[in-house]
């Protein structure tokens, strides 16, 4: 990549970080945090975005961030009080800024009208607070900076006749475009203290044309009186520059303005001006009382200082307490940094994701290899206590640890998804006219990057639903004796090797009679179905179910809860709902921490080795003859304690065999599908339980009905990982039985293909 393009990529990454910082800062302020460092961080975020945007000429982004920055600067300076209204405005501005950043990155469009209106609101806010702000600026030692060179009276008139300054001779003559200039330049001590060098300035002048330089050492005192920190020398430079104008000459001295006495004269122009303004003055007269000039200049710059020596010493003296103060500041900041580091602001490096994935793949191979080796050694009949076997145990332990550590590299906090939600909540609240408070917990909870990326859509949809369907209007809430403001809580936590995400609202809860009626109307359940409350609640996840009587702008974007459930399932996750009428609903997502490994039960079916995901298995049992009831040629149920669940022969479901073996000679795995439905899966035998590395069938072969993925076992054989939900649903089974079966598709070629992949 061209280096500038690479920096642009960095810029947009950094923008995202700064937008996150901006939002969390504003939210903290909204919650009442008054730490000035937060305001500073908020300002810096916008300032940085503006700076980078300027470098890449992203004009719309620069314009908006400039207006935003101006308002934030006034908040920072105390001219604007960040009350709730102001913070709401700033938060909405942050949203628009995010739109601008993304439009600049992806080449999309920003809602111009909205952005414009927002910018006007910000300007109005800034305008309201500006009075105090500019006053503060004026106090900022700005007067010194605006120093105008004192005009020299060449007839040696006393300084009291200084009003002649009002006719700056050189400046009245922008034309003709310069030929020759006489520059008188007398540095003050401050110039040297800022590491400026007269020699360099004269070198700059020399770039404009030919220079003749004379040093004026007449100001030098006796050595005994000399202060090495002070400035005594002056220069008179005659510049012959056919192409330069006076502005170019002035620019050379831009950085030392106020730190020197400077007089630039263009004799030709001056004589012209002098001819009209002061004909009696002989402008070319070279005799000038230099010391008088210096004194005049110093008096003009530092009026309170009578004598030159104290005036120039003063800054030097002032410098030391300032410096020690700076040290204090530095030490203070250092201490702060140390506490921050202790609080966990770890150092990071940026690594290409491909490298991490390659490492994960390799570690996966290592795990397989280690398992194969262990199996071979076991086959040799070595004692468990033999040094080889013990060494292998250590190897297994280490391999496992390496695998966990490598997986952890891909893990990221869910914050990156969570932080998009406040904006979503604001927008939906505005659209629905509801008042919503979003509380987030456990944003630091980590999960695999892929899981995070694919969580965004389902979470977005569920938050939408929670506000649109879950929460009541403020009036309804008040009538029900609840606070006007509805609460939505989004929380993440780790629980038994999985990440659990909860979306809780304190709204009206699921209207069960209505849900049940809709399900009956849509033919999803029979009118006589005897269902528990939980089962009714979970009907909303069924395909084709939608409770919205009118399709609102918010939830009715074409996806229902069944799509949410499917996307969660595709991540190996589960989603459930529990609801209390009038008090709210809780959606619970449970997801694996990684998509790369799976805890599985290895089973044998019709001579094939399969892996069933352990998360789906509730228990395994040996069916007794009286427990199984045949319901038809292709359907049977098994009694497990007080309920009956369908009994499904995996061998037949996957097309491995036509006739099922006797259930009493098989093993049944009681499984629970993602929707909570249960079934017993019939297998021939259980081999054991182990963690397997998931290899995609889609990527290495092609999708196979009833199979989720593949893995390689310790002995090098390929085993297919069962898609429990697919085998539980009748439809795919029929297809699997009538179409090309998993058996015929995979019998011969699959192992080598998969191995190669």
């Amino acid at each position: 990549m061209d280096p500038l393009a690479a920096i642009k990529v960095t810029f947009f990454q950094e923008c995202e970080e700064q937008l996150a910082e901006l939002e969390s800062g504003l939210l903290a302020m909204e919650a009442g945090d008054t730490d000035s460092e937060i305001v500073n961080a908020v300002f810096r975020a916008v300032h940085s975005i503006k700076g980078g945007a300027g470098a890449f000429s992203l004009e719309a982004l620069v314009r908006f961030s400039h207006v935003f920055e101006t308002a934030l600067d006034l908040v920072r300076g105390g001219a604007i009080t960040p009350d709730q209204d102001v913070l709401k405005l700033l938060l909405r501005s942050a949203d628009i800024l995010a739109d601008h950043v993304r439009a600049a990155r992806d080449g999309g469009e920003v809602d111009e009208a909205r952005s414009h209106a927002m910018a006007e609101e910000l300007e109005a806010l800034a305008g309201g607070g500006e009075g105090g702000g500019s006053a503060a600026e004026a106090d900022d030692g700005f007067g010194d900076f605006d120093f105008k060179p004192l005009m020299v009276s060449f007839d040696e008139a006393p300084a009291s006749e200084a009003p002649a300054t009002e006719a700056p001779v050189a400046e009245v003559a922008p034309e003709p475009s310069g030929r020759s200039f006489i520059i008188r330049f007398y540095p003050q001590a401050a110039l040297y203290q800022k590491a400026n060098e007269p020699g360099l300035l004269i070198r700059e002048l020399a770039r404009l044309g030919e220079v003749a330089v004379e040093v004026d050492g007449s100001g030098l005192p006796n050595l005994a009186e000399m202060n090495p920190e002070d400035a005594y020398l002056g220069w008179r430079v005659t510049l012959t520059a056919p192409k330069a104008d006076i502005a170019a000459v002035r620019e050379v001295f831009e950085w030392v303005e106020g730190d020197c006495y400077l007089d630039i004269v263009e004799p030709a122009a001056q004589s012209a001006a002098a001819a009209t303004a002061a004909p009696e003055i002989d402008a070319t007269q070279p005799e000038v009382d230099v010391m008088a000039l210096i004194r005049q200049a110093q008096e003009a710059v530092i009026p309170q200082a009578a004598a030159p020596a104290p005036a120039s010493l003063e800054p030097a003296k002032a410098a030391s307490p300032d410096a020690s103060k700076a040290k204090e500041v530095a030490l203070d900041a250092k201490a702060q940094a140390a506490t921050r580091e202790a609080g966990g602001s770890p150092q990071t490096i940026r690594v290409d994701l491909e490298r991490v994935d390659r490492l994960i793949d390799l570690v996966g191979e290592l795990v397989i290899n280690q398992a194969m080796l262990a199996q071979r050694v076991a086959e040799c009949g070595l004692q468990r206590a033999s040094s080889v076997a013990m060494g292998l145990d250590d190897l297994e332990h280490l391999t496992r640890e390496i695998q966990d550590s490598v997986m952890a590299i891909r893990a990221q906090p869910v914050k990156s998804v969570f932080q998009r939600m406040p904006r979503l909540v604001r927008e939906i609240a505005a659209m629905t006219g509801k008042e919503v408070r979003l509380v987030m917990d456990g944003e630091g909870t980590e999960v695999d990057k892929t899981v995070i990326e694919r969580l965004s859509d389902p979470l977005t949809h569920m938050i939408r639903n929670a506000i649109d369907h879950g929460l009541e209007t403020p009036e309804e809430r008040v009538a029900a004796g609840k606070p006007r403001e509805g609460l939505v809580r989004l929380a993440a936590l780790h629980r038994s090797g999985r990440i659990v995400i909860e979306i809780v609202d304190d709204g009206r809860g699921i209207n069960r009679p209505k849900v049940r009626q809709i399900a009956i109307d849509k033919g999803l359940i029979s009118a006589e179905a005897n269902m528990s409350d939980d089962e009714i609640d979970n009907l909303i996840f069924m395909p084709g179910f939608s409770t919205a009587t009118t399709i609102s702008d918010i939830s009715g974007r074409g996806v229902g809860m069944d799509v949410v459930r499917r996307s969660i399932q595709s991540l190996g996750g589960r989603i459930t709902i529990s609801s209390r009428p009038g008090q709210g609903s809780t959606f619970t997502l449970s997801l694996p921490l990684t998509l790369a490994v799976l805890d599985g039960m290895v089973v044998t079916v019709a001579g094939q080795t399969l892996v069933a995901p352990l998360t789906a298995i509730i228990e395994s049992l040996q069916p007794k003859s009286g427990d199984v009831r045949q319901l038809g040629p292709n359907a049977s149920v098994i009694a497990i304690r007080d309920t009956h669940v369908p009994l499904i022969d995996i061998g037949r479901a996957l097309g491995y065999r036509q006739n099922s073996p006797s259930p009493t000679e098989s093993v049944a795995l009681l499984v629970e599908g993602e929707g909570g439905a249960r079934a017993a899966l019939l297998v021939d035998a259980i081999q054991g339980q182990r963690q397997v590395v998931i290899k995609s069938l889609e990527a290495n072969y092609r999708p196979v009905p009833g199979i989720a993925a593949a893995t390689i076992l310790g002995d090098g054989r390929v085993a297919l990982i069962l898609d429990v939900d697919a085998v539980m649903v009748p439809k795919p089974l029929e297809r699997a039985a009538s179409g090309p079966s998993a058996q015929t598709e995979l019998a011969a070629p699959a192992p080598s293909l998969l191995k190669a992949g």
Binding site: I7, R44, D140, N196, A323
Partner: protein
């Protein structure tokens, strides 16, 4: 001899841009992410020129410049401040703290090198 430039900026984008332009122009570049980091970098290595941002966490540009000027070793090191056109008051504050000159953002490599030339022998 190759000159060493210390760049102090909390923005990765800016650091990368400075690094690209300065190394292309033949300078050696040392980077720091904020004022405090910059002072620490100066404890370890001498810089011939310093380029610093103003708005930074932990220790801002003003504090950093004062810290540099307060150290005998770096009193004569030119310091250029990265600033925007609208920051007239900040320019003055930076000068008061001891800045040698300034570079107005957004800068292009020519502007940057030009500014360095003006302060470096």
């Amino acid at each position: 001899m190759t000159k060493t430039i210390l760049t102090v900026d909390d923005s990765r984008t800016m650091r990368d841009m400075l690094h690209l332009a300065l190394t292309e122009a033949g300078f050696r570049v040392v980077q720091a992410v904020d004022g405090l980091d910059g002072l620490e970098a100066l404890d370890k290595a001498q810089a011939d020129i310093i380029i610093t941002d103003i708005n930074m966490p932990r220790l801002d540009g003003f504090g950093f410049i004062e810290g540099v000027r307060g150290n005998e070793k770096h009193r004569a090191t030119p310091i250029l401040v990265l600033t925007t056109e609208s920051d007239a008051a900040k320019k003055q504050r930076a000068r008061d703290a001891g800045a040698t000159g300034w570079i107005v953002k957004p800068f292009n490599p020519d502007k940057l090198i030009d500014a360095i030339r003006r302060v470096a022998a």
